[in-house]
């Protein structure tokens, strides 16, 4: 791979965002209309669909920070999101139950406490597993993250007091620092706002010195080392940040569904997130959002045509890998410099 010049932004952030990222602005604006559309058509299914798309989008954007910009093919992001989801659900469980977690901590239905805690734990999980997995590279990294994903999966399956295989229903009423966000439309806007903030955060981070080093590490790790920068700690920090964002997506997922299940943590879901990122385009922070929307639409409408929708979906994935290397972004043709992409080594 030829090294391309990586430099922080020279022009204003807003002007550049408008020029390079107009497709996502359009998409976010259209998404904001989803609840109105849903109630106009009297079709509550639509808003559930788009809530799913927004939250999957958040997880895929989190993954893409390390995948598209750090070159790290992680197959454990479903597990990391699951930590956030179970944090919310378990705290709510103890809140409802009145019992104490580990006999010490009281539960809570306040998302202003449980969501940040979930993000923290996800970041911690990512950092802990990252210490082992990031010392390896390439195929080892992929397989190890896959194994850690299954470790988390089996861990939550084994927690019988929290539903085990069947999952855990959230019976306590959840609130965000006193605000009731349980109505579908309210929750949708909360999720959409969270996605927007996440995109802004990662857009700034990718352009920062930290982001430049991360991208440089993905391109040519040896050269980064030669410059006197230890790449491991940057990758580790990036992995933890990505984990926290995945945890946020998971926590919102649990809140919106009032339910968590280990099946959302299975490695197949991790694979889905990679598909979303690649489908949407890994070169942009917002690319995976497009991928998530397409994924959710396919998942919702393919089964109505045929009972066997996974085979055509799998074929679509195979064809995309063979032909469409830059993701859907290539089709909308947004201009501007590219991230190195995680295709390499």
């Amino acid at each position: 791979m030829v090294d391309s010049a990586l430099k922080p932004a020279e022009t204003g952030f807003i002007a550049r965002t408008l020029r390079e990222s107009w497709p996502i602005l359009v998409v976010l604006a259209l998404l904001a209309l989803a609840p109105t559309l849903s109630s106009a058509l009297e079709n509550p299914f639509l808003i559930r669909l788009f809530t799913r798309a927004v939250i999957f989008g958040m997880a895929a954007v989190a993954l893409n920070f390390v995948l598209g910009f750090g070159g790290l093919v992680s197959l454990m992001h479903a597990g990391l999101a699951g930590i956030g989801a179970y944090t919310v659900a378990i705290l709510a469980f103890h809140d409802y139950d009145g019992s104490k977690l580990f006999g010490v901590f009281a539960g809570t239905g306040n998302l202003a406490i449980s969501i940040p805690l979930g993000m923290l734990l996800s970041a911690f999980g990512a950092a802990l597993t990252g210490i082992v997995s990031l010392r390896t590279s390439g195929a080892y990294f992929i397989m190890i993250t896959l194994a850690f994903n299954q470790m988390l999966y089996y861990f939550f399956v084994a927690l019988q007091q929290y539903g085990g295989d069947d999952g855990l229903q959230i019976l306590a009423s959840l609130d965000l620092a006193g605000f009731d966000i349980s109505k579908r439309a309210t929750f949708f806007y909360v999720a959409l706002a969270a996605l927007t903030l996440e995109l802004l955060f990662f857009a700034r981070l990718v352009d920062s010195r930290f982001g430049v080093i991360l991208r440089a590490t993905a391109q040519n790790e040896r050269r980064v080392i030669a410059l006197g920068i230890p790449p491991l700690r940057y990758k580790l920090a990036a992995f933890a940040i990505s984990g926290a964002a995945a945890g946020l997506a998971g926590a919102l997922w649990a809140t919106g569904q009032q339910f968590v299940s280990p099946s959302e943590l299975s490695w197949v879901r991790s694979g889905d997130y990679i598909v979303m990122a690649v489908l949407g385009g890994m070169g942009r922070v917002w690319g995976p959002v497009l991928g998530a929307i397409v994924f959710v639409l396919l998942e919702a409408f393919l089964p109505s045509w045929t009972q066997f929708w996974q085979a055509p979906f799998g074929l679509v994935v195979i064809l995309i890998v063979v032909f469409l290397k830059g993701g859907l972004i290539d089709l909308v043709g947004a201009k501007g410099p590219r991230a190195p992409g995680g295709g390499g080594h």
Partner: protein, 290 residues
Amino acid sequence: MSLSLFIEQSLNGVQLGVMLFLMAAGLTLVFGIMNLINLAHGSLYMAGAFFAAAFIKLTGSFVLAVLLALPAAAIVGAFVEWAVLRRFYSRGHLDQVLVTFGLILVFNDVVRMIWGVVPVPLPPPDALAGSVHLFEGVFYPAFRLAILAVGALVALALYFVVSHTRVGMWIRAGASNRPMASALGVDVELVFSLVFSAGAALAGLAGLMAGPITAVQVGMGEPILILALVVTVIGGIGSIRGAFVAALIIGIGDTFGRVLLPPALGSMVIFMLMAAILAWRPKGLFPVHG
């Protein structure tokens, strides 16, 4: 833990170990030689079990079914290699993960179309249906003993082929330095196809032996795939010897972890083992590539 339980669990562990070895052997060779991550290896395991079930129904004989199912799995493997995966040897790992992930979805749906979602019966042969009285008070299912024996025999045969024959020499040469092997006149394409089909047959063998113990159903290959990946990584990617040692460690570790520890911890034992071994040796126990 009583002595008889200890013996029984040890046998279970070794038996899981040889099964994992059959899976990991194909995986580790395919990766070591072709530099290809094949997540769809579990699908070949599933294919082996379903083929065996279908051929038993057709012929009524377990032995005949095995003899037909193994080449069938190898042919499926050869076809997938020829039609799709061949194009991906020189592509990045991400593309390989994606394409084999897509293949899993296709495989699962094709099996669902043909056999449906209900588990398919795969009875063990009548001769091996009962239990064997090992010694005082210790009984063990004959079929599981047979698995152990077949697995150990195949492992030995594989070891012999890889380390004492010309084909094995090509394979080892390809695993340690592909361009050099190719330059020295090894027909690398042929070796690729051969190794992939052989790996598919081994995965199929593991699948059809697991069928009578577990259930023959869609997605049955995925849990074992993860364990086989763990084995491959611990053993060192590309190393048959590493795969064998790691398979036994994981088989025994997993079995005893589940018996001795509370479930939440027991299910995590092998992953913690993996983390510990990789923290100590990031390239696995028997690294092949310098």
